[in-house]
Every structure is written in structure tokens, then in C-alpha cells.
């Protein structure tokens, strides 16, 4: 939970508070960046960039209570910028087959969800992460991505359908294997 006192102290220039804040939030920032980018190196770079921005702009944050949503915004923009710079890699048939194959001897649902997310196209993964993990509503997602509300709706719906298909294929493959 957000420690507003800690944030207030960090805003006031207390280095210990800032360090504690960074250490507290590093796992959350990394996981969010990883969910967007599915690349551990890129995610680590994003974590550093995000906290440098936080350090530079923290005194301008109007309210300590707004810290979490402010941080989420910074992470989102940083990840979207990174994703834009990354060359778009189309989903290969091999990766889809690999996901559908019963390679995971232990049917680890979490790992399968993670792989299914990485198999999704970047557009679909982005809207799912924004909606399911970061909890933005459709209007906010439309503003963040600069796309019409109707496109957000159809993109989320189609991303979910794809996820469901990937997961049911995997489940089937596991049952057969």
C-alpha cells in the first residue's frame, strides 16, 4: 500500500525515503514493464528510466495520494515509447505451435498465461495489460493510445478471444500429451 508519509518525505528531498520508495516499487514497475514488452532487458531499462523520471519530477507531484496513478502513467508512456521503437515482430507459426505443444511437463497455468500473452500481437497485449493489469477504463485507454473508443472495445474483445483460443489449444494439447 502507498505510504503517503514516505512519498511526502521523498518529495521533500529525503534521500532515504526516496531510496525506500524506489526499492518498494521496483518489482511493480518491472512486472508492468515486462507485461508490456515481454523482454527482461528492455523491462530493466524501463525501470531505470521510470525512476530517473520519478526522481526528477517528484517535487512537482501535487499530491502524495496521486503517486500510484502518476507512476502508472509514467510506466505506461515509457513502455509504449519503447514498444514503438522496437521493431514489430510478427508471430511466427513456430511460436504458436510451441505454445500449443505439450512441452510443459508440469501444466503450469501461470507460465502458459505468460507465454500466451507474449504470443499475442503487440496491439492486443497492450490493451489487455492496460485493462486487466493496470485497470484503466475504455475511455482512459482510448486517450492513452490515441485511438477511438470503438477500436478499444473491439481490440480488447478480440485480444480476449485470441487468449482464450491459445489457452484452450494449450489445455487440449496437454490433455492429449
Amino acid at each position: 500500500m502507498i505510504d503517503t508519509y514516505l512519498i511526502e518525505r521523498a518529495r521533500g528531498g529525503d534521500e532515504d525515503a526516496l531510496s525506500a520508495l524506489i526499492l518498494n516499487y521496483t518489482p511493480y514497475v518491472y512486472r508492468t514493464a515486462f507485461a508490456f514488452l515481454h523482454d527482461s532487458m528492455e523491462a530493466e531499462d524501463v525501470v531505470q528510466e521510470v525512476f530517473i523520471k520519478v526522481y526528477r519530477s517528484l517535487p512537482q507531484l501535487s499530491e502524495a495520494r496521486a503517486f500510484h496513478s502518476w507512476l502508472s502513467k509514467i510506466i505506461t508512456h515509457q513502455c509504449l515509447d519503447r514498444a514503438k521503437k522496437k521493431q514489430a515482430t510478427p508471430i511466427s507459426d513456430e511460436s504458436l505451435e510451441a505454445l500449443a505443444s505439450p512441452a510443459h511437463s508440469n501444466y503450469d497455468r501461470r507460465l502458459i498465461i505468460k507465454e500466451a500473452l507474449s504470443t499475442l500481437s503487440e496491439e492486443h497485449r497492450t490493451v489487455l495489460v492496460l485493462r486487466e493489469w493496470q485497470g484503466y477504463d475504455y475511455h482512459e485507454i482510448s486517450l492513452i493510445l490515441g485511438i477511438p473508443l470503438g477500436t478499444v472495445k473491439s481490440r480488447i474483445s478480440s485480444a480476449r478471444m485470441q487468449m482464450r483460443k491459445l489457452l484452450s489449444d494449450q489445455k487440449l494439447a496437454h490433455e492429449e500429451g
Binding site: 521496483t26 512486472r31 515486462f34 507485461a35 530493466e44 525512476f51 526522481y55
Partner: protein, 167 residues
């Protein structure tokens, strides 16, 4: 409501983005259709599973220390930049005082002044011979160079742009 219509809207229903009357329509369909209800449950479970999967992404233990070190390096760079700017400002402000106390500096300034004056005289003479188009092109080129120089200086000295954070 039929199943096709329900599947079109079910994603929005899960996200509570439907209007109250559309929500009621879909709720009554879900009560009567086991297939659509199964899909609805799967979507709800998928959300929890995605959250759980991201929550369990392993984080390397030294990442926090790496970030702290990066932030400290940034802080040091910022302080160094600040020091250089302060030194430059002090030199600019303090230089007239130095001139008051040094005859040699005063001689040097006189020399620079006379060179500048000679140069201006030459420019004035050249202007008489040059066509208006050449003068215009020279002034434009000098203005562009000056703007470029100012832009580079701004880039070197500027603070982080808060707009990119708050956008």
C-alpha cells in the same frame, strides 16, 4: 438477445462498460444460455489469471540496487551540470571586476576592441560593394547559425521536461 449479439458485447459487460439497459439484456441472456455463461466465466477467470501471472514474474534481486545506482548517477550528473552553469555565470558576472584590476586584461580588451572595430569597418566597406541579395544571404546564414548555437546551448543546459512526465 441471441448468442451472436451476446458474444459481441460480453467483453464490455465483463468490464462494466455497458449501459444499464444493455447490461440487463445480457444478464437475462446469460441466465438462459449455458454456453455464453461459460464464456463469461472464462473471461472473468482469465482476468484473475493474467493478474496472477504478472504478479509472479520473477524480479532479479539486485534490480533495486541497480536502479538506485542509476538514480544516483543521474543526480551526480545534474549536480555537475549545475556546478558548470554556476561557474560560467560567476565568470560572466565577475569578469568586469577583473578588468578593473588588471592592466594586461585591459590591454587585451583594447586589442580585441580595435580588431572588432577594424572588422566592422571592413564589413561596412564590403557592404558598399556587395549586392543586396548577397547581404541578405549572409545575414540569413548568420541568423540560422546563431539560432542553432542557442538551440545547442539550450539542449546542454536544459532541465528535464516535466511535460513528458505529466502528459
Amino acid at each position: 438477445m441471441d448468442c451472436r449479439h451476446c458474444l459481441e458485447e460480453i467483453s464490455e459487460y465483463v468490464d462494466e462498460e455497458l449501459t444499464p439497459w444493455a447490461e440487463k439484456d445480457i444478464q437475462s441472456h446469460l441466465l438462459s444460455c449455458p454456453e455464453c455463461h461459460k464464456y463469461f466465466r472464462e473471461l472473468k477467470e482469465m482476468r484473475l489469471e493474467i493478474i496472477d501471472s504478472i504478479n509472479k514474474v520473477p524480479v532479479r534481486s539486485d534490480l533495486g540496487a541497480m536502479v538506485l545506482s542509476a538514480v544516483k548517477t543521474d543526480h551526480t550528473k545534474k549536480m555537475q551540470r549545475l556546478t558548470w552553469v554556476t561557474v560560467a555565470v560567476l565568470i560572466l558576472l565577475g569578469s568586469p571586476l577583473l578588468f578593473l584590476f588588471s592592466r594586461r586584461i585591459l590591454t587585451l580588451v583594447r586589442l580585441i576592441y580595435s580588431i572588432g572595430l577594424t572588422f566592422l569597418g571592413l564589413v561596412q566597406t564590403a557592404l558598399g560593394y556587395l549586392s543586396p541579395l548577397t547581404i541578405f544571404a549572409t545575414v540569413t546564414a548568420l541568423t540560422v547559425l546563431m539560432c542553432l548555437g542557442l538551440y545547442v546551448m539550450r539542449g546542454l543546459l536544459r532541465e528535464p521536461d516535466s511535460r513528458e512526465v505529466f502528459s
